[in-house]
Symmetry: C2
Subunit: 237 residues, 2 copies
């Protein structure tokens, strides 16, 4: 008996984005054939499946939330039907599962069980932001969140800028949206005015905002646009 496939199914970055703008038709059709989903959040996954116009009533689908990381052992149980031939998909709340989002442990467990893992094309804020930034895409690093505490964050920013200058490396990080303005102030305070900063905010949304310029060139009006909006910061010294 051959194993099923574990698909990694991207979800929209912004609920207002038309599915035709971020989802290839074959990805949509693939989702339509599935009835078993391992998800970050059931409610959000149902919204994603509804948006893709899954042909079956959502209540007939098996939508199971991923266990917390420290209970990763439960994944073997959840993936047992896949090992026995049932296809399934991993869905995170926004963007690509497993990239700056839950889902990686499900994919890793699947590899360990001999289950093929199939990534599907879709929107990723990291990739879209990097493409549009014009910063170095030959060498880059994604850090996730930086420390929240002022001193530690300042030190980290200084360190990232040094590393960027030394290795010509684009430094990519995110922040909880309500702290975006504080993050910008920290960048202005701790990094050189001549370093390039790209801010990519509300990607794929109607109010998407992407701009790259020297840190010193940012105006308060520009910076205000990222307040409480999902934002990616990209720095190149």
């Amino acid at each position: 008996m051959s194993a099923g496939t574990l698909y990694m199914l991207p979800s929209p970055l912004d609920a207002a984005c038309a599915p035709g703008a971020d989802t290839p038709s074959a990805v949509r059709e693939c989702a339509h054939r599935l009835d078993y989903f391992l998800v970050e959040n059931a409610r959000s996954a149902r919204a994603t499946l509804k948006r893709l116009e899954h042909p079956r009533p959502l209540r007939e689908l098996d939508i199971v939330e991923l266990p917390p990381e420290h209970e990763g052992g439960l994944l073997r149980e959840l993936l047992a039907p896949v090992a026995s031939g049932r296809d399934a998909a991993v869905i995170s709340d926004a963007g690509c599962p497993g990239v700056a989002d839950p889902g990686a442990l499900a994919a890793r467990t699947a590899h360990g069980m001999g289950i093929p893992v199939m990534p599907l094309v879709g929107p990723s804020s990291i990739l879209l932001g990097l493409m549009a930034s014009g910063l170095n895409g030959q060498c880059f690093i994604f850090h996730g969140y930086l420390p929240v505490e002022d001193d530690a964050r300042g030190k980290t920013l200084v360190e990232l800028e040094k590393q960027s200058a030394r290795l010509r490396q684009t430094q990519i990080f995110i922040e909880t949206p309500y702290r975006n303005l504080r993050m910008f102030e920290a960048i202005r305070k701790h990094c050189r005015g001549t370093s390039l900063l790209c801010i990519a905010s509300a990607l794929t949304a109607p109010d998407q905002f992407i701009r790259t310029q020297a840190i010193a060139a940012w105006t308060p009006e520009q910076v205000e646009r990222i307040d409480r909006r999902p934002t990616l910061f990209l720095l190149l010294a």
Copy 2:
């Protein structure tokens, strides 16, 4: 007079992949509206536009190759029509322009000229490989090519493995396809057998091969599948 937009338009990773599998319909429609393209290679860009069924005869489109990096100043001239209101798109040979591919300098120059840069959803081997790898997607680094010379490559691999262990960071790199087997041998020689290695090869192609396992677990039959195929290596110590 308002500026046009510079679109970053992905091209297929594999020519045999159906456009419906890697291109959202709105991205295709966006490409259809354009008649000015800044491209890595004219022949390959024409193939991409033909694949997307651009409605106009290709000879009527302005398809201009990007200048070499050291002549980046020429980009301002090529982008002048965009600053004056004409939309354009950047196309690289495979995958997302500006990410492990030419195009970043065009986007950066556009930002400097006040031209909005708009990234479009499409296939990226780095993103697809990372999604499917099950390795850490919260913190990762893309290095591009490692040194070719044996000693330097060995030292780099040892360094990357240490850094991966210290920071729980997925290390991502590529190799010229005909050197893939030598790269694998170097990884086996210089890294620990217990470190996890994902090999993601021929992504989106009919013979796509993605597998994550401890370095010591790789068999010669598995490794042979990546010979002369475009391949992404992902390492997590």
